[in-house]
């Protein structure tokens, strides 16, 4: 069975070769395809380009991506001639990755993270191309995006690019070690961490000053992942970062579903040396000290503390230290301390799951409290957590909880 599929893939490549002469599959060396496979894993191409929810084929696209501007559907990146990249040349593919321009000259929406991939050198992008061309083509049409005017006109992206984008290749910093440069390249290039972890402006472009200081998307806060002084993960060691990316758990947290997708599909398969490079780089990113926060009233602390002790302490421990590797410590947590409390509120309302990985197959979950605690109780609890055990973040209001609850119920 397997063999026939490979032959099928190869002949599809050959058909294309007759007309536009890209590399045909049989010319590809194993190491080149393997290199492309690894890079596609680092970039987690399958994450967006597979419609997991509807049991879509891998890389055949169709996944709905919510953006602040409307829904967009990821394209099919298998080498199907009609609906995928089958007719694309290496140059076409490079232009898409490097400049965000499709084969027909149209502009791709920057939900496709070409502003990151532009840092990748040509050989690496060619390797991804070769890898994708080796996969069985799948016929799968991509739905049109649901953008309002004028965003539904792809030319609008041209203006966006003028303002926010410049194709550029990664330039190593000679002052820094090879590992640091490798880490930075991975973070800013193929792994495109900033796509979630850097806050965006009104147009959806990275805000430079907010680099890896956390960003909100789909009512989740991708937390601050700067590892230097005052950073969101200042209290994580390099080993902690590697353990988290490799196995989804460390002494400080377990990976929740959104990032869990990245760990499960991508980082758990990355080479440890690359994860170490990422850790080395992140640990050098200092952050500004935050302004001190006003201590909440005695009444709120008493109420929040009582709610905490009754509902949370059995797992997270009465002093917020949790059970490392199992129940997240809340003392020092970058989600509890985040300026924007949305992730912690969401976790309290909906519960969450530490996503199982190859190294940690057990599903550890936190139950939902939306049915048990009122908005005011959750606000008091959150405020208590954000002002206890060395945590320091602004108080949460009942209204914030109510708004989020309403949005989540929609």
């Amino acid at each position: 069975m397997r063999t026939s599929k490979i032959i099928l893939a190869a002949s599809a490549g050959l058909a294309a070769a007759l007309t536009i002469a890209p590399a045909s599959a049989q010319n590809l060396s194993f190491s080149q395809v393997e290199r492309g496979r690894y890079l596609a894993t680092v970039g987690n191409c399958a994450g967006c380009h597979t419609d997991e929810v509807n049991d879509g084929e891998r890389f055949a696209g169709g996944r709905e991506m919510e953006t602040p501007f409307g829904s967009i559907y990821t394209p099919n990146i298998t080498f199907d001639n009609e609906t995928g990249l089958g007719l694309w040349t290496r140059d076409d593919f490079y232009r898409a990755m490097n400049e965000g321009i499709a084969r027909d000259g149209s502009h791709l929406y920057p939900a496709f993270p070409y502003p990151y991939f532009t840092l990748m050198p040509r050989q690496e992008i060619d390797a991804i191309y070769d890898y994708l061309s080796s996969i069985e083509p799948v016929y799968s049409e991509t739905p049109e995006p649901q953008f309002p005017f004028p965003l539904n006109i792809r030319q609008a992206v041209m203006g966006w690019n003028l303002l926010y984008f410049e194709p550029q290749e990664f330039v190593p910093d000679p002052e820094q070690s090879d590992e640091w440069n490798r880490g930075r390249y991975l973070v800013d290039g193929p792994a495109h961490c900033g796509a979630c972890h850097t806050d965006k402006n009104f147009a959806g472009a990275d805000i430079e000053d907010e680099y890896l200081r956390g960003g909100v998307l789909e009512d989740w806060l991708a937390p601050n992942i700067r590892g230097g002084e005052n950073g969101g993960i200042a209290h994580w060691s390099e080993d902690d970062i590697v353990a988290f990316l490799e196995g989804g758990r460390n002494d400080h947290t377990g990976v929740m579903p959104r990032m869990g997708e990245v760990v499960v599909l991508s980082t758990q398969y990355m080479e440890t040396a690359d994860l170490e490079a990422i850790a080395i780089y992140l640990k050098t990113l200092d952050d500004e000290a935050r302004d001190p926060v006003e201590q909440p009233s005695e009444a709120i602390m008493t109420a929040g503390g009582g709610i905490y002790f009754d509902n949370c302490a059995a797992c997270h421990a009465s002093d917020g230290t949790g059970v490392p590797e199992i129940f997240a410590p809340l003392a020092g947590s970058n989600k509890v301390n985040a300026e924007d409390p949305i992730t912690m509120l969401r976790v309290i309302l909906e519960g969450t799951l530490a996503v199982p990985t190859n190294d940690n197959p057990g599903p550890i979950g936190m139950p939902a409290f939306d049915w048990k605690l009122t908005d005011q109780q959750i606000a008091d609890l959150a405020t208590f957590l954000r002002a206890s055990w060395g945590n320091s973040a602004p108080a949460v209001s009942e209204g914030e909880v109510a708004d989020l609850r309403e949005r989540l119920e929609e």
């Binding site: 758990r249 590797e325 057990g362 599903p363 550890i364 409290f369």
Partner: protein, 599 residues
């Protein structure tokens, strides 16, 4: 039939034949999940068929709702529904058995994880002499009495030791070894069989009750040790990379799922790795009707089951593993016609033979001033003495064999279930309420966990009258305590009473086990026998590898294999036998499918 939904013949009669698989497993509790993991590791593809539903910690036993006494203790949510299927009971063959319409004496589980979800977690190994009960006792005390049908297991403790070790590491058992490779270790059970290593976790934190018990027992020259516990004394990660969290001593173990990942269950130790395996399929809410035999009678061809929509399927398989609860496994063998049914009159036949139970008694201690605070409890939080278990003491002249452990467990102070009052207090009314208030935080309990020896008259068969919701005959249980049980409990309960009197309370209350076996009050869910293992087909259903003597590709797991019951909780031994069987399947049977022991 004015209730068409209950009519047995309403289901579709068409049987859809599914593609064949390597292994089909009936039941997905402890042994089902262990065998699934083992068979998958051997590279086989496996289908497990579970009559109950899917259940998991984050979705079904969240700490926000797990400790619900009304739902789980009183309304029996974890247990088999008697309206669909139950068993009939009688004390002896002169009576007519009647269906049990509400569970009492024991609580058969249902659903993914089986009874492994709602157990307490008391995880003992049987003694080396328990596996050779007949040979050992006859050598020491002469021939067994007439009517006692005690047998050797056909497998020895030494052979099982590595498999006990595997299961205890799977679960992260908290305890203190008493015998490591033959060296007696201070603080553990000096009578236990040798262990190749210390327990994976240290003992649990003991409370007032255990301290008092330990002191009193030592004062009598006994050897107290911490109860081996599947409740975690600290965070633990097992050999499959699955983590368990430290126990919070909330006191909601037995009859409940653990919300804190602190009790080893199939869900918290092994099911996650099984579910991740692409060669595994689980079919829930699907009930196996019978195992299908090949016309030549030497092997099974698979199983027939009904799904939740009433559709009937045939699932062909190369290997059939029966991993339902003991009662259900015995019944499936009878319904499938594998092995000769046991006849108590002639003593011929084997399936249903040697049903045994356990003889339980207890003593309550009541204090005036001291608080025992039993709400700080856990299913397997206790101190134990084993001086009167198995053959750890001289039975000469006592007229019985076997024994009991005496344990001071602090399992709970769940208010609907647990409110012991002293002797002489009325069972209801204001006086009862006053006494509950006075004693609720000031009582301790000692239990006596007695062995049960097999006798010719105690057995299981199919009921001639009553049927289940599919129209199949119910299991019929014929059981009463035996002379061995009575002498055993009458000898050991007073010793427990003496310990209790040494614990410094105001008064004690002895709850001895008297009269005929009564299926109503809860005693223990340690039903054993019915598919017993042994050395030859004339006196056992399965051989030492749990392989059917009749159909060589049928393997029957569970406590049904015990030829008689020991004075311990059975789970550790059940699991060790499963691992031993899996090892034999992987290393012998797959190379050369056929009987692994020549009859």
């Amino acid at each position: 039939m004015d209730r068409p939904d209950l009519a047995p013949n309403t289901r579709e009669t068409r049987v859809e034949k599914l593609p064949s698989v390597d292994v089909v497993i009936i039941g997905f509790g402890w042994t089902g999940s262990i065998m699934a993991q083992q068979m998958l590791e051997a590279g086989l593809n496996v289908v497990a068929i579970e009559r109950g539903g899917w259940r998991d910690t984050p979705t079904d036993f969240a700490p926000t709702m797990a400790p619900d006494e009304l739902r789980y203790y009183w309304r029996h949510e974890m247990f088999q529904e008697t309206a669909r299927e139950t068993l009939t009971f009688r004390n002896n063959i002169s009576q007519t058995a009647l269906p049990m319409r509400k569970w009492g004496s024991f609580l058969p589980g249902s659903g993914v994880g089986g009874a492994g979800v709602h157990w307490n977690g008391q995880t003992f190994r049987f003694l080396p002499s328990d596996f050779v009960a007949k040979t050992h006792n006859e050598e020491r005390y002469g021939p067994l009495p007439t009517g006692m049908t005690v047998q050797d297991y056909g497998v020895t403790y030494d052979e099982l030791e590595p498999h006990f070790d595997t299961f205890e590491k799977l679960c992260g058992i908290s305890g203190k070894a008493g015998n490591i490779n033959g060296e007696i270790v201070e603080g553990g059970n000096p009578f236990e069989g040798w262990r190749s290593s210390e327990y994976p976790n240290p003992p649990m934190e003991m409370t007032f009750t255990q301290h008092r018990f330990e002191e009193a027992a030592r004062g009598m020259g006994l050897n107290p040790f911490p109860g081996p516990s599947a409740n975690m004394s600290r965070a633990y990660t097992n050999q499959h990379g699955i983590s368990l969290a430290p126990c919070t001593y909330c006191g909601f173990c037995e009859k409940f799922g653990c919300g804190n990942y602190s009790k080893a269950s199939p869900q918290t130790t092994i099911i996650p790795v099984v579910m991740r395996n692409p060669n595994f399929t689980l079919r829930t809410n699907s009930e196996v009707l019978h195992i299908n035999k090949h016309p030549d009678g030497t092997r099974a061809t698979g199983v027939t089951y009904i799904d939740a929509d009433g559709r009937t399927f045939e699932q062909p398989a190369e290997i059939v593993i029966v991993a339902a609860y003991q009662l259900q496994s015995t019944r499936l063998m009878l319904l499938s016609g594998i092995g000769q049914p046991y006849d108590p009159r002639s003593g011929e036949g084997v399936v249903g033979k040697n049903y045994t139970y356990q003889v339980m008694s207890s003593i309550n201690v009541f204090y005036d001033e001291e608080y025992t605070n039993n709400f700080v409890g856990a299913g397997a939080l206790g101190m134990i003495v084993d001086d009167y278990n198995g053959d750890n003491f001289d039975h000469s002249g006592l007229g019985f064999i076997g024994g009991a452990y005496i344990g001071a467990w602090t399992t709970n102070a769940r208010p609907i279930e647990s409110h012991p009052v002293p002797e002489g207090v009325p069972e209801w009314g204001s006086e009862w309420k006053r006494s509950v208030r006075q004693n609720f935080l000031k009582t301790a309990s000692i239990s006596v966990h007695g062995a049960s020896m097999a006798y010719r008259q105690n057995y299981l068969d199919l009921d001639p009258t009553y049927t289940d919701h599919w129209g199949r005959p119910l299991m019929r249980m014929t059981y009463d305590f035996t002379v061995n049980d009575r002498r055993l409990t009458n000898h050991i309960t007073p010793i427990a009473e003496e310990i209790a009197r040494g614990m410094g309370g105001r008064e004690v209350k002895v709850n001895s086990r008297e009269g005929a076996y009564d299926s109503v009050p809860y005693q223990t869910t340690h039903n054993t026998g019915g598919t017993i293992m042994g050395q030859n087909p004339s006196e056992s259903v399965v051989n030492r590898y749990l392989q059917s003597w009749d159909c060589h590709n049928v393997f029957v797991m569970g406590a049904g294999a015990f030829p008689q019951n020991a004075g311990y909780n059975p789970t550790d031994t059940v699991a060790a036998l499963a691992y031993f069987s899996a090892d034999a399947i992987r290393n012998q049977y797959l190379q050369n499918p056929g009987p692994m022991v020549q009859a």
